[in-house]
Symmetry: C2
Subunit: 269 residues, 2 copies
Amino acid sequence: MNRTELIEQIRSKKSFLCVGLDPDMNKIPKHLSSTEDPIFEFNKAIIDATHEHCVAYKPNTAFYEAYGISGWKSLEKTIEYLNNNFPNHFTIADAKRGDIGNTSAMYAKAFLDTLNFDSITVAPYMGSDSVKPFLTIPNKWVILLALTSNEGAFDFQFLKSNEKPLFESVLEKSKEWGNENNMMYVVGATKAESLADIRKIIPNSFLLVPGVGAQGGSLEEVCKYGLNKDCGLLINSSRAILYASSGEDFAIKAKEEAMKVHSDMLKFV
Amino acid sequence: MNRTELIEQIRSKKSFLCVGLDPDMNKIPKHLSSTEDPIFEFNKAIIDATHEHCVAYKPNTAFYEAYGISGWKSLEKTIEYLNNNFPNHFTIADAKRGDIGNTSAMYAKAFLDTLNFDSITVAPYMGSDSVKPFLTIPNKWVILLALTSNEGAFDFQFLKSNEKPLFESVLEKSKEWGNENNMMYVVGATKAESLADIRKIIPNSFLLVPGVGAQGGSLEEVCKYGLNKDCGLLINSSRAILYASSGEDFAIKAKEEAMKVHSDMLKFV
């Protein structure tokens, strides 16, 4: 999916919500556990219930790999279901990969080619040749970790070198590798106050923003500092939507939760 | 596997070689392509041929994920084969994972529990809560990226904050999370001159050292600066061993290559 298509979808829906698909077998409603593939059935119900309110889906690969081959099958079925039924939704493999060049090329093949996601999250620690192999496929995207939403972000991401915190060095360096048409950034909603500085470095890029909802970030704050002329934001919510109910009404409750976020977004687009 | 068992194996074999299992379908000998699972057959032959000369195996997950479910099956069969037939070999899931706490916990389940590897490589960018969930299982290990072997390592890992390059900050901070009994570090052989400084910070820890062989690092240099009283090194070689020959003699040639490295190691243990 290219940038224009993504922006058009955001404008027509007046939503920039991304639903994170983190299916945890301990939290999936009990009545699904007797189905052949509970994870896929759960995802399918969540997707069917929420697709009108969001523009993107983000399966987190850890939650599939934890179940071995059966989990990987569920992941494959989920992305196939999305690509076949909702081709206008932007898809994100939240995989946080990154390795030496020949290995990153294999990860690119795995997620952007074999599984056919639109994008993949990538960790920056190993630098240029760990990121560039993901940038060689037309209309596919890298979403680079910049400033993450977790407590551990304070361990290294704010370390200052030449007056600049590490996450700003990552943003600046990455502009040598990609551009606003093939690279986005992860910026946690829990660090909204840093968004103003971030927007000075990458004014036009899309930001994938986790941390609204279960992790405590605020949509208002994120929009105040993060919006740009093309919206430029994908706000992710996972647990708050997926596990709004643990009963048979989980999909209805998920839809209601997605609708709430969507309605909060209307005034910003 | 615990530290004592690993050291005993290194001493008894006089080897600290780790064989990287990076099976690339474009490089696997043609005569294997008609088998049901060429990747597993390739790995099995490599393992059978090299096990006397090495103490560890390191499948790189990218090379399995690139082939989707069939690749994941090959990975599962490979680690099962290792655990059933060579339980004294240390196993490394070279996965370079790392995410917020609840997600890293799922990756820990995937690789240290479901697949039952002894260890997993972890990227440090997201800090403490992205690493700690991997450290909760007895006799399992985190191998944290510190100073990698690739060119991109120069982008961020040498950025200085308080006179210290980032990789040294990673080493120091990580000592708050784990210790020499559950944490090792990736240090590239191509940066051997940094090993003396690294040993000042983590004198007793094991280092996983890629980059000898195809990437150009020197065993002599790495040993000169990296050896400690318990050896403290696992030297990885992947391509130089796996693809020593592309013919039907690939396993014999792999064994010869592993033996060469092993014989170079004898004087250091």
